[in-house]
């Protein structure tokens, strides 16, 4: 399993955001990640590129919303390996945040769609 060459704050923010969604059982799309992390679009997508290259996350097209003429959303979720790696990364770099994420109170439904509501057969 590949590991990031540099562990930057934006990387930790995005990883933490995805793990929080994972705890909630939801999946996030690009604009939600941008909004939740407070980072700019290019920064977030640079991180998503790296995480996809390392196979920590996987993306699915939102086929349900493709009926209208608008561009489709792409949802992201942590892979099994990615979840382990993100937990290890946060445990090393932001242990207090990981502990907070693991608290049951943080599992309340928030942004994102419930897992399983998106067809995983979308184009990669």
């Amino acid at each position: 399993m590949a590991r990031p060459a540099r562990t930057t704050r934006p990387l930790l923010d995005v990883a933490s955001c995805l793990l929080r969604a994972d705890f909630r059982g939801t999946e996030l799309y690009g604009w939600q990640i941008i909004r939740e992390t407070g980072r700019t679009g290019p920064t977030v997508y640079g991180i998503l590129d790296r995480l996809e290259d390392m196979h920590w996350i996987t993306g699915y097209w939102d086929e349900q919303g493709s009926d209208d003429n608008r561009p489709r959303r792409r949802f992201y979720r942590l892979t099994d390996d990615g979840r382990t790696q993100v937990r290890e990364l946060l445990a090393a770099r932001r242990p207090e945040e990981l502990a907070r994420l693991a608290e049951p109170g943080d599992r309340a439904p928030g942004l994102g769609l419930p897992r399983g509501s998106i067809a995983p057969g979308g184009a990669q």
């Binding site: 700019t40 679009g41 290019p42 959303r73 792409r74």
Partner: protein
């Protein structure tokens, strides 16, 4: 009378510019994906995805500034890739040229954005306001929007100038 005409003309022009900026943002962001990625499949995925990000983002001006940020980051990534692929001979000169190009693009974009921000923040007397709802919306933009735009620009400049 002349000032009223200018006001009306300005209102109409602003209205058109607002509508144009949303369209331009979509075009810019799709183009940015295609210049950023060598992998054509990923470029097409990101082009559609980023187009949706722009659509999800509220306010036409913010859409445009976000698209400009994506373009700046893509130009920087493209320039960095071009420099890294250059043969050892002439690396110094070509690398400096690429850096200058990125810097010049950033400076021009930043100046344009700053001018627009300043224009938005300049208080204008109500009597001189054209009777266009879009202009009224611009005048009523809350401070956090301009701060958010400024933050986007600053981070984009950081992206373009660092490394």
């Amino acid at each position: 009378m002349t000032s009223l005409l200018w006001g009306l003309l300005g209102g109409l022009l602003t209205n058109e510019l607002f509508q144009l900026s949303g369209w331009a943002a979509q075009k810019l962001v799709r183009w940015s994906a295609r210049i950023r990625y060598d992998d054509l499949e990923r470029a097409e995925i990101r082009a559609e995805e980023l187009a949706r990000v722009i659509e999800d983002r509220p306010a036409e001006l913010l859409k445009f500034f976000t698209a400009v940020c994506f373009v700046l980051a893509a130009v920087r990534a493209r320039a960095a890739r071009a420099v890294s692929r250059m043969p050892l001979t002439g690396v110094t000169v070509s690398g400096a040229a690429a850096a200058r190009l990125t810097m010049a693009t950033t400076v021009v974009m930043t100046m344009a954005a700053t001018a627009m921000l300043l224009a938005l923040n300049v208080p204008r007397p109500k009597s001189a306001m054209p009777s266009s709802p879009q202009v009224a919306q611009v005048a009523a933009l809350p401070g956090w929007i301009t701060r958010e735009v400024a933050s986007d620009i600053v981070v984009a400049c950081d992206l373009a100038m660092c490394n």
